[in-house]
Protein backbone atom coordinates (compact mmCIF):
# COMPACT_ATOMS: atom_id res chain seq x y z
CA UNK A 1 0.00 0.00 0.00
CA UNK A 2 1.05 3.59 -0.58
CA UNK A 3 0.67 5.85 2.42
CA UNK A 4 -0.02 9.53 1.84
CA UNK A 5 -0.66 12.77 3.69
CA UNK A 6 -1.95 14.44 0.53
CA UNK A 7 -5.49 15.61 1.15
CA UNK A 8 -6.61 15.23 -2.48
CA UNK A 9 -5.37 11.65 -2.55
CA UNK A 10 -7.06 10.86 0.76
CA UNK A 11 -10.29 12.37 -0.54
CA UNK A 12 -10.07 10.26 -3.68
CA UNK A 13 -9.60 7.13 -1.57
CA UNK A 14 -12.55 8.20 0.58
CA UNK A 15 -14.77 8.47 -2.48
CA UNK A 16 -13.71 5.04 -3.67
CA UNK A 17 -14.41 3.61 -0.20
CA UNK A 18 -17.89 5.19 -0.22
CA UNK A 19 -18.64 3.54 -3.57
CA UNK A 20 -17.54 0.18 -2.21
CA UNK A 21 -19.64 0.58 0.94
CA UNK A 22 -22.77 1.26 -1.11
CA UNK A 23 -22.07 -1.66 -3.46
CA UNK A 24 -21.23 -4.12 -0.69
CA UNK A 25 -24.33 -3.39 1.34
CA UNK A 26 -26.60 -3.39 -1.71
CA UNK A 27 -25.30 -6.82 -2.73
CA UNK A 28 -25.64 -8.08 0.83
CA UNK A 29 -29.25 -6.80 0.94
CA UNK A 30 -28.70 -5.87 4.59
CA UNK A 31 -26.26 -3.86 6.68
CA UNK A 32 -25.59 -0.40 8.01
CA UNK A 33 -24.76 2.17 5.33
CA UNK A 34 -25.33 5.38 7.31
CA UNK A 35 -22.74 4.83 10.03
CA UNK A 36 -20.27 3.33 7.56
CA UNK A 37 -20.43 6.41 5.34
CA UNK A 38 -20.11 8.83 8.27
CA UNK A 39 -16.81 7.24 9.40
CA UNK A 40 -15.06 7.12 6.01
CA UNK A 41 -12.64 10.05 6.41
CA UNK A 42 -11.78 8.97 9.97
CA UNK A 43 -10.85 5.42 8.94
CA UNK A 44 -9.15 6.42 5.67
CA UNK A 45 -7.00 9.10 7.36
CA UNK A 46 -5.94 6.62 10.04
CA UNK A 47 -5.02 3.74 7.72
CA UNK A 48 -3.53 5.72 4.83
CA UNK A 49 -1.80 8.50 6.75
CA UNK A 50 -1.62 8.34 10.53
CA UNK A 51 -1.17 4.75 11.68
CA UNK A 52 2.09 2.81 11.65
CA UNK A 53 1.13 -0.55 10.19
CA UNK A 54 2.17 -2.94 7.45
CA UNK A 55 -0.32 -5.08 5.51
CA UNK A 56 2.57 -7.40 4.61
CA UNK A 57 3.35 -7.92 8.29
CA UNK A 58 -0.01 -7.63 10.05
CA UNK A 59 1.27 -9.02 13.37
CA UNK A 60 4.22 -6.62 13.60
CA UNK A 61 4.38 -6.20 17.42
CA UNK A 62 5.02 -2.45 17.32
CA UNK A 63 2.17 -1.68 14.92
CA UNK A 64 -0.55 0.79 15.82
CA UNK A 65 -3.88 -0.87 16.53
CA UNK A 66 -7.32 0.02 15.17
CA UNK A 67 -10.54 -1.13 16.78
CA UNK A 68 -13.93 -0.45 15.21
CA UNK A 69 -15.93 -0.55 18.40
CA UNK A 70 -19.07 0.39 16.44
CA UNK A 71 -18.74 -2.94 14.66
CA UNK A 72 -21.90 -2.52 12.59
CA UNK A 73 -19.92 -0.08 10.42
CA UNK A 74 -17.84 -3.08 9.27
CA UNK A 75 -18.14 -2.19 5.55
CA UNK A 76 -16.02 0.96 5.96
CA UNK A 77 -13.30 -1.07 7.68
CA UNK A 78 -13.49 -3.92 5.14
CA UNK A 79 -13.23 -1.53 2.23
CA UNK A 80 -10.26 0.31 3.75
CA UNK A 81 -8.46 -2.89 4.73
CA UNK A 82 -8.97 -4.27 1.23
CA UNK A 83 -7.66 -1.01 -0.27
CA UNK A 84 -4.60 -1.36 1.99
CA UNK A 85 -4.05 -4.93 0.80
CA UNK A 86 -4.94 -6.81 3.99
CA UNK A 87 -7.82 -8.69 2.40
CA UNK A 88 -9.00 -9.49 -1.14
CA UNK A 89 -10.79 -6.61 -2.78
CA UNK A 90 -12.58 -8.86 -5.26
CA UNK A 91 -14.49 -10.56 -2.44
CA UNK A 92 -15.95 -7.39 -0.91
CA UNK A 93 -19.31 -8.11 -2.50
CA UNK A 94 -19.55 -11.40 -0.60
CA UNK A 95 -20.29 -9.33 2.53
CA UNK A 96 -22.62 -11.14 4.95
CA UNK A 97 -22.83 -14.26 2.78
CA UNK A 98 -22.15 -17.75 4.13
CA UNK A 99 -18.44 -18.51 4.09
CA UNK A 100 -17.38 -14.92 3.42
CA UNK A 101 -14.47 -13.48 5.37
CA UNK A 102 -16.51 -10.27 5.38
CA UNK A 103 -18.83 -11.20 8.23
CA UNK A 104 -21.76 -9.03 9.32
CA UNK A 105 -19.62 -7.60 12.11
CA UNK A 106 -15.79 -7.74 12.31
CA UNK A 107 -14.71 -11.26 13.26
CA UNK A 108 -11.05 -12.12 13.93
CA UNK A 109 -11.73 -15.77 13.19
CA UNK A 110 -12.28 -14.85 9.53
CA UNK A 111 -9.83 -11.93 9.26
CA UNK A 112 -6.90 -12.52 11.62
CA UNK A 113 -5.45 -9.09 10.81
CA UNK A 114 -8.39 -7.47 12.59
CA UNK A 115 -7.44 -6.45 16.12
CA UNK A 116 -10.75 -7.37 17.76
CA UNK A 117 -14.13 -8.93 17.11
CA UNK A 118 -16.74 -6.28 17.75
CA UNK A 119 -20.44 -5.81 17.26
CA UNK A 120 -21.74 -5.80 20.81
CA UNK A 121 -21.55 -2.09 21.53
CA UNK A 122 -19.52 -0.57 24.33
CA UNK A 123 -16.61 -2.99 24.51
CA UNK A 124 -13.94 -1.72 22.11
CA UNK A 125 -12.60 1.07 24.30
CA UNK A 126 -11.80 -1.38 27.11
CA UNK A 127 -10.10 -3.77 24.69
CA UNK A 128 -8.10 -0.81 23.38
CA UNK A 129 -7.03 0.06 26.92
CA UNK A 130 -5.67 -3.47 27.35
CA UNK A 131 -3.65 -3.17 24.14
CA UNK A 132 -2.39 0.29 25.12
CA UNK A 133 -1.32 -0.97 28.57
CA UNK A 134 0.49 -3.91 26.97
CA UNK A 135 2.35 -1.51 24.66
CA UNK A 136 3.45 0.61 27.60
CA UNK A 137 4.65 -2.45 29.52
CA UNK A 138 6.61 -3.59 26.48
CA UNK A 139 7.95 -0.05 25.96
CA UNK A 140 6.53 -0.18 22.46
CA UNK A 141 5.69 2.97 20.50
CA UNK A 142 2.41 1.33 19.50
CA UNK A 143 -0.70 3.51 19.75
CA UNK A 144 -4.30 2.40 19.81
CA UNK A 145 -7.20 4.02 17.94
CA UNK A 146 -10.79 3.15 18.80
CA UNK A 147 -13.75 4.40 16.77
CA UNK A 148 -16.91 4.71 18.84
CA UNK A 149 -20.45 5.38 17.70
CA UNK A 150 -22.35 8.22 19.29
CA UNK A 151 -25.24 5.97 20.26
CA UNK A 152 -22.68 3.46 21.48
CA UNK A 153 -21.45 5.74 24.23
CA UNK A 154 -24.82 5.37 25.91
CA UNK A 155 -23.37 2.04 27.08
CA UNK A 156 -22.15 2.13 30.69
CA UNK A 157 -18.96 0.22 29.96
CA UNK A 158 -17.70 3.15 27.86
CA UNK A 159 -17.70 5.31 30.97
CA UNK A 160 -16.01 2.60 33.05
CA UNK A 161 -13.31 2.62 30.39
CA UNK A 162 -13.24 6.42 30.19
CA UNK A 163 -12.77 6.68 33.96
CA UNK A 164 -10.01 4.06 33.89
CA UNK A 165 -8.03 5.53 30.98
CA UNK A 166 -8.35 9.06 32.33
CA UNK A 167 -7.23 8.02 35.79
CA UNK A 168 -4.29 5.95 34.57
CA UNK A 169 -3.20 8.47 31.94
CA UNK A 170 -3.28 6.00 29.06
CA UNK A 171 -1.87 8.55 26.61
CA UNK A 172 -1.18 6.07 23.78
CA UNK A 173 -4.94 5.62 23.41
CA UNK A 174 -7.11 7.71 21.08
CA UNK A 175 -10.88 7.41 20.93
CA UNK A 176 -12.81 8.89 18.04
CA UNK A 177 -16.54 9.47 18.49
CA UNK A 178 -18.32 9.33 15.14
CA UNK A 179 -20.89 11.93 16.20
CA UNK A 180 -23.44 11.56 13.39
CA UNK A 181 -26.45 12.20 15.67
CA UNK A 182 -28.52 9.23 14.50
CA UNK A 183 -28.99 5.79 16.03
CA UNK A 184 -31.24 2.90 15.11
CA UNK A 185 -34.50 4.21 16.54
CA UNK A 186 -33.97 7.80 15.42
CA UNK A 187 -32.10 10.94 16.43
CA UNK A 188 -29.70 10.64 19.38
CA UNK A 189 -31.15 13.83 20.83
CA UNK A 190 -34.59 12.22 20.97
CA UNK A 191 -33.43 8.90 22.39
CA UNK A 192 -30.70 9.70 24.92
CA UNK A 193 -28.89 12.99 24.35
CA UNK A 194 -25.12 13.04 24.90
CA UNK A 195 -24.51 16.75 25.32
CA UNK A 196 -22.56 18.36 26.78
CA UNK A 197 -20.25 15.76 25.27
CA UNK A 198 -16.80 17.44 25.41
CA UNK A 199 -17.41 18.39 29.03
CA UNK A 200 -18.23 14.78 29.89
CA UNK A 201 -14.91 13.51 28.51
CA UNK A 202 -12.98 16.40 30.07
CA UNK A 203 -14.52 15.55 33.42
CA UNK A 204 -13.11 12.04 32.98
CA UNK A 205 -9.66 13.60 32.48
CA UNK A 206 -9.32 13.14 28.71
CA UNK A 207 -7.79 15.61 26.26
CA UNK A 208 -10.85 16.48 24.21
CA UNK A 209 -10.82 17.73 20.62
CA UNK A 210 -13.94 18.83 18.79
CA UNK A 211 -13.63 18.72 14.98
CA UNK A 212 -15.38 18.30 11.63
CA UNK A 213 -15.06 14.55 11.11
CA UNK A 214 -15.26 14.85 7.31
CA UNK A 215 -12.37 17.35 7.10
CA UNK A 216 -9.19 15.41 6.41
CA UNK A 217 -6.92 18.34 7.43
CA UNK A 218 -8.87 18.68 10.69
CA UNK A 219 -8.49 14.95 11.34
CA UNK A 220 -4.77 15.04 10.53
CA UNK A 221 -4.20 17.91 12.89
CA UNK A 222 -6.27 16.29 15.66
CA UNK A 223 -4.31 13.04 15.37
CA UNK A 224 -1.04 15.03 15.56
CA UNK A 225 -2.29 16.81 18.65
CA UNK A 226 -3.22 13.47 20.20
CA UNK A 227 0.27 12.11 19.50
CA UNK A 228 1.94 15.17 21.03
CA UNK A 229 -0.18 15.01 24.16
CA UNK A 230 1.39 13.20 27.11
CA UNK A 231 -0.24 12.09 30.32
CA UNK A 232 -3.84 11.85 29.14
CA UNK A 233 -5.79 9.81 26.62
CA UNK A 234 -7.33 11.79 23.78
CA UNK A 235 -10.88 11.74 22.50
CA UNK A 236 -11.69 13.27 19.14
CA UNK A 237 -15.33 14.21 18.90
CA UNK A 238 -15.76 14.02 15.15
CA UNK A 239 -18.90 15.80 13.99
CA UNK A 240 -20.14 13.85 11.03
CA UNK A 241 -23.20 13.38 8.85
CA UNK A 242 -24.90 10.01 8.85
CA UNK A 243 -24.96 8.67 5.28
CA UNK A 244 -22.43 11.31 4.17
CA UNK A 245 -21.90 11.50 0.41
CA UNK A 246 -25.24 10.09 -0.72
CA UNK A 247 -27.89 12.83 -0.74
CA UNK A 248 -30.89 10.66 0.08
CA UNK A 249 -29.07 8.84 2.87
CA UNK A 250 -27.71 11.93 4.59
CA UNK A 251 -29.32 12.59 7.98
CA UNK A 252 -31.90 9.91 7.23
CA UNK A 253 -32.43 7.49 10.14
CA UNK A 254 -33.85 4.91 7.70
CA UNK A 255 -30.34 4.27 6.38
CA UNK A 256 -28.90 3.42 9.77
CA UNK A 257 -29.69 -0.21 9.15
CA UNK A 258 -31.37 -0.54 5.76
CA UNK A 259 -29.63 -1.62 2.57
CA UNK A 260 -30.13 0.44 -0.57
CA UNK A 261 -32.10 -1.11 -3.43
CA UNK A 262 -30.38 -1.72 -6.79
CA UNK A 263 -32.00 1.47 -8.06
CA UNK A 264 -30.82 3.46 -5.04
CA UNK A 265 -27.33 2.03 -5.51
CA UNK A 266 -27.35 3.34 -9.09
CA UNK A 267 -28.31 6.82 -7.92
CA UNK A 268 -25.75 6.75 -5.13
CA UNK A 269 -22.91 5.68 -7.43
CA UNK A 270 -23.78 8.52 -9.82
CA UNK A 271 -23.42 10.97 -6.93
CA UNK A 272 -20.12 9.34 -5.95
CA UNK A 273 -18.74 9.29 -9.49
Amino acid sequence: MKKTSNVDELQAISKQVRREIVEMITHAKSGHPGGSLSAVEIVVTLFFDVMRHDPNNPKWPDRDRFILSKGHAAPVLYSVMAECGYTPKDQLNTLRKLGSIYQGHPDVRFIPSLEASTGSLGEGLSIGIGMALAAKLDQSPSRVFVVLGDGEIQEGQIWEAAMFAGDKGVDNLVAIVDYNHIQLDGFVNDIMPLDPLPEKWRAFNWQTLDIDGHSIPALQSAFSEAAANKGKPTVIIAHTIKGKGVSFMENNPKFHGTAPTEEEMGKALLELA
Binding site: A116, T118, E123, S126, G130, A134, L137, G156, E160
Partner: protein, 320 residues
Protein backbone atom coordinates in the same frame (compact mmCIF):
# COMPACT_ATOMS: atom_id res chain seq x y z
CA UNK B 1 -16.97 -29.76 59.31
CA UNK B 2 -14.73 -32.57 60.52
CA UNK B 3 -11.12 -32.30 59.62
CA UNK B 4 -9.96 -35.86 60.22
CA UNK B 5 -11.08 -39.08 58.58
CA UNK B 6 -9.53 -42.40 57.74
CA UNK B 7 -8.45 -40.77 54.46
CA UNK B 8 -6.48 -38.34 56.64
CA UNK B 9 -8.17 -35.14 55.58
CA UNK B 10 -6.15 -32.27 56.94
CA UNK B 11 -7.37 -28.73 56.75
CA UNK B 12 -5.43 -26.76 54.17
CA UNK B 13 -5.67 -23.23 52.87
CA UNK B 14 -8.63 -21.83 50.96
CA UNK B 15 -8.46 -22.40 47.21
CA UNK B 16 -8.52 -18.61 46.70
CA UNK B 17 -5.33 -18.31 48.75
CA UNK B 18 -3.72 -21.18 46.84
CA UNK B 19 -4.59 -19.32 43.63
CA UNK B 20 -2.98 -16.10 44.85
CA UNK B 21 0.20 -17.92 45.82
CA UNK B 22 0.39 -19.91 42.60
CA UNK B 23 -0.03 -16.73 40.58
CA UNK B 24 2.97 -15.13 42.31
CA UNK B 25 5.06 -18.18 41.48
CA UNK B 26 3.98 -18.00 37.85
CA UNK B 27 4.72 -14.29 37.81
CA UNK B 28 8.30 -15.00 38.84
CA UNK B 29 8.73 -17.45 35.98
CA UNK B 30 6.95 -15.58 33.19
CA UNK B 31 6.95 -11.83 32.76
CA UNK B 32 3.84 -11.99 30.57
CA UNK B 33 1.68 -13.11 33.50
CA UNK B 34 -0.53 -10.26 34.70
CA UNK B 35 -3.29 -9.83 37.27
CA UNK B 36 -6.37 -7.63 37.15
CA UNK B 37 -8.74 -7.07 40.02
CA UNK B 38 -11.80 -4.86 40.66
CA UNK B 39 -11.12 -3.69 44.22
CA UNK B 40 -11.17 -7.15 45.77
CA UNK B 41 -7.49 -8.06 45.66
CA UNK B 42 -7.28 -8.62 49.42
CA UNK B 43 -10.11 -11.15 49.14
CA UNK B 44 -8.97 -12.85 45.95
CA UNK B 45 -5.34 -12.89 47.14
CA UNK B 46 -4.12 -11.15 43.99
CA UNK B 47 -2.82 -8.59 46.50
CA UNK B 48 0.18 -10.93 46.80
CA UNK B 49 0.87 -10.53 43.08
CA UNK B 50 0.25 -6.77 43.26
CA UNK B 51 2.82 -6.44 46.02
CA UNK B 52 5.56 -8.29 44.14
CA UNK B 53 4.73 -7.13 40.61
CA UNK B 54 3.09 -3.69 40.87
CA UNK B 55 3.74 -2.97 37.18
CA UNK B 56 1.92 -6.10 36.09
CA UNK B 57 -1.08 -5.62 38.37
CA UNK B 58 -4.03 -3.64 37.02
CA UNK B 59 -6.35 -2.20 39.66
CA UNK B 60 -9.59 -1.76 37.74
CA UNK B 61 -11.82 -0.25 40.38
CA UNK B 62 -15.31 -1.63 40.77
CA UNK B 63 -15.92 -2.13 37.06
CA UNK B 64 -15.93 -5.80 36.11
CA UNK B 65 -17.10 -5.42 32.51
CA UNK B 66 -14.25 -3.05 31.79
CA UNK B 67 -11.82 -5.37 33.59
CA UNK B 68 -12.67 -8.42 31.49
CA UNK B 69 -12.39 -6.53 28.20
CA UNK B 70 -9.10 -4.91 29.27
CA UNK B 71 -7.84 -8.42 30.00
CA UNK B 72 -8.87 -9.40 26.48
CA UNK B 73 -6.93 -6.50 25.02
CA UNK B 74 -3.86 -7.44 27.06
CA UNK B 75 -4.17 -11.05 25.91
CA UNK B 76 -4.49 -9.97 22.28
CA UNK B 77 -1.16 -8.21 22.72
CA UNK B 78 0.55 -11.35 24.05
CA UNK B 79 0.04 -11.05 27.81
CA UNK B 80 -1.41 -13.83 29.97
CA UNK B 81 -3.88 -11.94 32.13
CA UNK B 82 -5.61 -13.44 35.17
CA UNK B 83 -8.70 -11.36 35.98
CA UNK B 84 -10.14 -12.19 39.37
CA UNK B 85 -13.11 -11.21 41.47
CA UNK B 86 -15.84 -12.83 43.48
CA UNK B 87 -17.16 -15.45 41.11
CA UNK B 88 -20.65 -13.95 40.98
CA UNK B 89 -19.30 -10.56 39.90
CA UNK B 90 -16.68 -11.80 37.44
CA UNK B 91 -19.13 -14.11 35.71
CA UNK B 92 -22.39 -12.19 35.93
CA UNK B 93 -21.16 -8.62 35.51
CA UNK B 94 -18.52 -9.65 33.02
CA UNK B 95 -20.51 -12.28 31.16
CA UNK B 96 -21.18 -10.27 28.02
CA UNK B 97 -17.48 -9.37 27.85
CA UNK B 98 -16.48 -12.99 28.47
CA UNK B 99 -18.71 -13.94 25.58
CA UNK B 100 -17.81 -11.33 22.97
CA UNK B 101 -14.24 -10.36 23.88
CA UNK B 102 -12.92 -13.72 25.15
CA UNK B 103 -14.93 -16.78 24.07
CA UNK B 104 -16.04 -15.79 20.57
CA UNK B 105 -12.63 -14.55 19.36
CA UNK B 106 -10.89 -17.30 21.44
CA UNK B 107 -8.71 -14.87 23.35
CA UNK B 108 -6.23 -16.13 25.93
CA UNK B 109 -7.93 -14.69 29.03
CA UNK B 110 -7.97 -16.42 32.43
CA UNK B 111 -10.77 -15.60 34.85
CA UNK B 112 -10.65 -16.71 38.47
CA UNK B 113 -13.87 -16.50 40.45
CA UNK B 114 -13.41 -16.70 44.20
CA UNK B 115 -16.06 -16.91 46.95
CA UNK B 116 -18.08 -19.31 44.84
CA UNK B 117 -20.98 -21.38 46.08
CA UNK B 118 -22.87 -20.77 49.32
CA UNK B 119 -19.92 -21.49 51.63
CA UNK B 120 -19.11 -17.77 51.56
CA UNK B 121 -21.64 -17.75 54.39
CA UNK B 122 -22.86 -14.62 56.15
CA UNK B 123 -22.72 -12.20 53.18
CA UNK B 124 -25.73 -13.89 51.63
CA UNK B 125 -27.07 -14.56 48.13
CA UNK B 126 -26.03 -11.33 46.36
CA UNK B 127 -22.42 -12.45 46.85
CA UNK B 128 -22.99 -16.19 46.35
CA UNK B 129 -22.17 -17.67 42.99
CA UNK B 130 -24.33 -20.70 42.32
CA UNK B 131 -24.71 -20.25 38.55
CA UNK B 132 -21.07 -19.71 37.54
CA UNK B 133 -20.17 -23.20 36.31
CA UNK B 134 -23.24 -23.34 34.11
CA UNK B 135 -22.65 -19.90 32.67
CA UNK B 136 -18.93 -20.48 32.08
CA UNK B 137 -19.57 -23.89 30.48
CA UNK B 138 -22.14 -22.35 28.16
CA UNK B 139 -19.41 -20.30 26.46
CA UNK B 140 -18.00 -22.19 23.44
CA UNK B 141 -14.27 -22.78 23.72
CA UNK B 142 -14.03 -22.00 27.42
CA UNK B 143 -12.13 -24.37 29.70
CA UNK B 144 -13.76 -24.56 33.15
CA UNK B 145 -11.88 -25.83 36.20
CA UNK B 146 -13.05 -26.34 39.78
CA UNK B 147 -10.21 -27.37 42.09
CA UNK B 148 -11.08 -29.01 45.41
CA UNK B 149 -8.02 -28.12 47.46
CA UNK B 150 -4.77 -26.20 47.55
CA UNK B 151 -2.83 -28.96 45.78
CA UNK B 152 -5.11 -29.08 42.77
CA UNK B 153 -5.53 -25.31 42.65
CA UNK B 154 -1.78 -24.82 42.58
CA UNK B 155 -1.41 -27.24 39.67
CA UNK B 156 -4.46 -26.05 37.75
CA UNK B 157 -3.45 -22.39 37.83
CA UNK B 158 -0.32 -23.53 36.03
CA UNK B 159 -2.30 -25.65 33.55
CA UNK B 160 -4.53 -22.63 32.88
CA UNK B 161 -1.53 -20.44 32.15
CA UNK B 162 -0.05 -23.06 29.79
CA UNK B 163 -3.33 -23.58 27.95
CA UNK B 164 -3.88 -21.22 25.03
CA UNK B 165 -7.50 -20.07 25.18
CA UNK B 166 -9.99 -18.73 27.69
CA UNK B 167 -10.18 -20.45 31.08
CA UNK B 168 -12.45 -20.01 34.09
CA UNK B 169 -11.23 -21.27 37.47
CA UNK B 170 -13.63 -21.53 40.40
CA UNK B 171 -12.29 -20.90 43.88
CA UNK B 172 -13.84 -20.81 47.33
CA UNK B 173 -13.69 -18.66 50.43
CA UNK B 174 -13.28 -21.11 53.35
CA UNK B 175 -10.23 -23.12 54.23
CA UNK B 176 -10.72 -26.63 52.86
CA UNK B 177 -9.41 -30.11 53.50
CA UNK B 178 -6.45 -31.31 51.45
CA UNK B 179 -7.71 -34.29 49.44
CA UNK B 180 -4.81 -34.81 47.05
CA UNK B 181 -1.26 -36.05 47.47
CA UNK B 182 1.36 -33.42 46.76
CA UNK B 183 2.66 -35.53 43.87
CA UNK B 184 -0.73 -35.84 42.12
CA UNK B 185 -0.78 -34.73 38.46
CA UNK B 186 -3.65 -32.65 37.10
CA UNK B 187 -4.42 -32.09 33.44
CA UNK B 188 -7.25 -30.22 31.73
CA UNK B 189 -9.88 -32.77 30.68
CA UNK B 190 -8.84 -35.38 33.22
CA UNK B 191 -10.02 -36.33 36.71
CA UNK B 192 -8.61 -38.06 39.79
CA UNK B 193 -10.03 -41.29 41.15
CA UNK B 194 -9.44 -40.91 44.87
CA UNK B 195 -11.00 -44.16 46.05
CA UNK B 196 -12.03 -47.23 44.04
CA UNK B 197 -15.35 -48.95 44.56
CA UNK B 198 -17.81 -51.18 42.71
CA UNK B 199 -21.36 -50.48 43.95
CA UNK B 200 -21.65 -46.81 43.04
CA UNK B 201 -19.51 -43.89 41.87
CA UNK B 202 -19.59 -40.51 43.57
CA UNK B 203 -18.41 -37.83 41.16
CA UNK B 204 -17.75 -34.63 43.07
CA UNK B 205 -16.15 -31.28 42.44
CA UNK B 206 -14.83 -28.42 44.56
CA UNK B 207 -15.88 -28.33 48.19
CA UNK B 208 -17.96 -31.48 47.80
CA UNK B 209 -14.95 -33.70 47.09
CA UNK B 210 -14.05 -33.82 50.79
CA UNK B 211 -17.71 -34.49 51.62
CA UNK B 212 -17.70 -37.34 49.09
CA UNK B 213 -14.70 -38.89 50.85
CA UNK B 214 -16.50 -38.61 54.20
CA UNK B 215 -19.60 -40.14 52.62
CA UNK B 216 -17.56 -43.04 51.25
CA UNK B 217 -16.34 -43.85 54.77
CA UNK B 218 -19.79 -44.09 56.24
CA UNK B 219 -20.99 -46.11 53.25
CA UNK B 220 -18.10 -48.50 53.72
CA UNK B 221 -19.21 -49.03 57.31
CA UNK B 222 -22.52 -50.20 55.83
CA UNK B 223 -20.70 -52.47 53.36
CA UNK B 224 -21.43 -50.26 50.36
CA UNK B 225 -18.41 -49.86 48.13
CA UNK B 226 -18.24 -46.39 46.60
CA UNK B 227 -15.79 -45.09 44.03
CA UNK B 228 -14.92 -41.40 44.53
CA UNK B 229 -13.78 -39.22 41.66
CA UNK B 230 -12.65 -35.58 41.84
CA UNK B 231 -14.00 -34.14 38.58
CA UNK B 232 -12.01 -30.90 38.68
CA UNK B 233 -12.20 -30.33 34.92
CA UNK B 234 -15.82 -29.37 34.35
CA UNK B 235 -15.15 -28.59 30.72
CA UNK B 236 -13.76 -30.47 28.95
CA UNK B 237 -15.03 -33.43 30.97
CA UNK B 238 -13.14 -36.67 31.51
CA UNK B 239 -15.61 -38.68 29.44
CA UNK B 240 -13.75 -41.95 29.75
CA UNK B 241 -13.74 -41.85 33.58
CA UNK B 242 -17.51 -41.23 33.52
CA UNK B 243 -18.13 -43.99 31.00
CA UNK B 244 -16.03 -46.41 33.06
CA UNK B 245 -17.93 -45.47 36.22
CA UNK B 246 -21.25 -46.12 34.47
CA UNK B 247 -20.08 -49.46 33.03
CA UNK B 248 -18.36 -50.72 36.17
CA UNK B 249 -20.52 -49.44 39.03
CA UNK B 250 -23.90 -49.00 37.23
CA UNK B 251 -24.91 -46.09 39.47
CA UNK B 252 -23.63 -42.52 39.80
CA UNK B 253 -24.15 -39.70 42.29
CA UNK B 254 -22.86 -36.25 41.35
CA UNK B 255 -22.17 -33.73 44.12
CA UNK B 256 -21.43 -30.03 43.70
CA UNK B 257 -21.85 -26.68 45.42
CA UNK B 258 -23.83 -25.29 42.49
CA UNK B 259 -27.34 -25.29 41.06
CA UNK B 260 -28.13 -28.85 40.06
CA UNK B 261 -29.96 -27.53 37.01
CA UNK B 262 -26.85 -26.24 35.26
CA UNK B 263 -23.69 -27.54 36.89
CA UNK B 264 -21.47 -30.61 36.73
CA UNK B 265 -24.33 -33.08 37.25
CA UNK B 266 -26.21 -32.35 34.05
CA UNK B 267 -22.98 -32.47 32.10
CA UNK B 268 -22.09 -35.87 33.56
CA UNK B 269 -25.65 -37.06 32.88
CA UNK B 270 -25.25 -36.15 29.22
CA UNK B 271 -22.14 -38.31 28.95
CA UNK B 272 -23.89 -41.16 30.76
CA UNK B 273 -26.87 -40.87 28.43
CA UNK B 274 -24.56 -40.94 25.42
CA UNK B 275 -22.51 -43.91 26.61
CA UNK B 276 -23.85 -46.36 29.21
CA UNK B 277 -27.11 -45.10 30.74
CA UNK B 278 -27.48 -45.90 34.44
CA UNK B 279 -29.43 -44.50 37.40
CA UNK B 280 -28.11 -41.18 38.70
CA UNK B 281 -28.79 -38.88 41.65
CA UNK B 282 -27.74 -35.27 42.10
CA UNK B 283 -26.54 -33.49 45.23
CA UNK B 284 -26.48 -29.72 44.79
CA UNK B 285 -28.52 -26.58 45.22
CA UNK B 286 -32.11 -26.89 44.08
CA UNK B 287 -33.92 -24.10 42.24
CA UNK B 288 -33.41 -21.49 44.96
CA UNK B 289 -31.14 -18.82 46.39
CA UNK B 290 -29.69 -19.39 49.85
CA UNK B 291 -29.42 -16.92 52.76
CA UNK B 292 -27.04 -15.67 55.44
CA UNK B 293 -25.60 -18.12 57.93
CA UNK B 294 -22.37 -19.85 58.80
CA UNK B 295 -20.97 -21.98 55.98
CA UNK B 296 -21.64 -25.12 58.01
CA UNK B 297 -25.26 -24.15 58.69
CA UNK B 298 -25.82 -23.35 55.03
CA UNK B 299 -24.23 -26.52 53.68
CA UNK B 300 -26.44 -28.47 56.08
CA UNK B 301 -29.64 -26.58 55.29
CA UNK B 302 -29.14 -26.70 51.52
CA UNK B 303 -28.20 -30.37 51.47
CA UNK B 304 -24.50 -30.34 50.61
CA UNK B 305 -23.07 -32.51 53.40
CA UNK B 306 -21.62 -36.02 53.40
CA UNK B 307 -24.93 -37.22 54.87
CA UNK B 308 -26.76 -35.85 51.81
CA UNK B 309 -24.41 -37.76 49.54
CA UNK B 310 -24.99 -40.93 51.58
CA UNK B 311 -28.76 -40.48 51.22
CA UNK B 312 -28.40 -39.95 47.47
CA UNK B 313 -26.29 -43.12 47.18
CA UNK B 314 -29.00 -45.11 48.94
CA UNK B 315 -31.65 -43.70 46.60
CA UNK B 316 -29.63 -44.52 43.52
CA UNK B 317 -28.86 -48.06 44.70
CA UNK B 318 -32.58 -48.79 45.03
CA UNK B 319 -33.01 -47.79 41.38
CA UNK B 320 -30.07 -49.85 40.18
Amino acid sequence: METKTKFELKLGMATREAFGKALVELGRENKDIMALDPDLSKSTFTSLFAKEFPDRFVECGIAEANMIAIASGLASSGKIPFASSFSCFAINKGFEQLRVTAAYPNVNVKVVGTHSGISIGEDGPSQMSIEDLGLACSLPGFTVLCPADEVSMHALVRRAAEHVGPVFIRAGRPKVAIVHAASQRFEIGESVQLIDGHDVTIIATGLLVAEAIRAQESLEAESISARVIDMYSIKPLDRSAIERAAKETHAIVVAEEHLVASGLGVRVAQVVAETKPCPMEFVGIRDTYAESGTPEELLQKYGLMASDIVAAVKRVLIRK
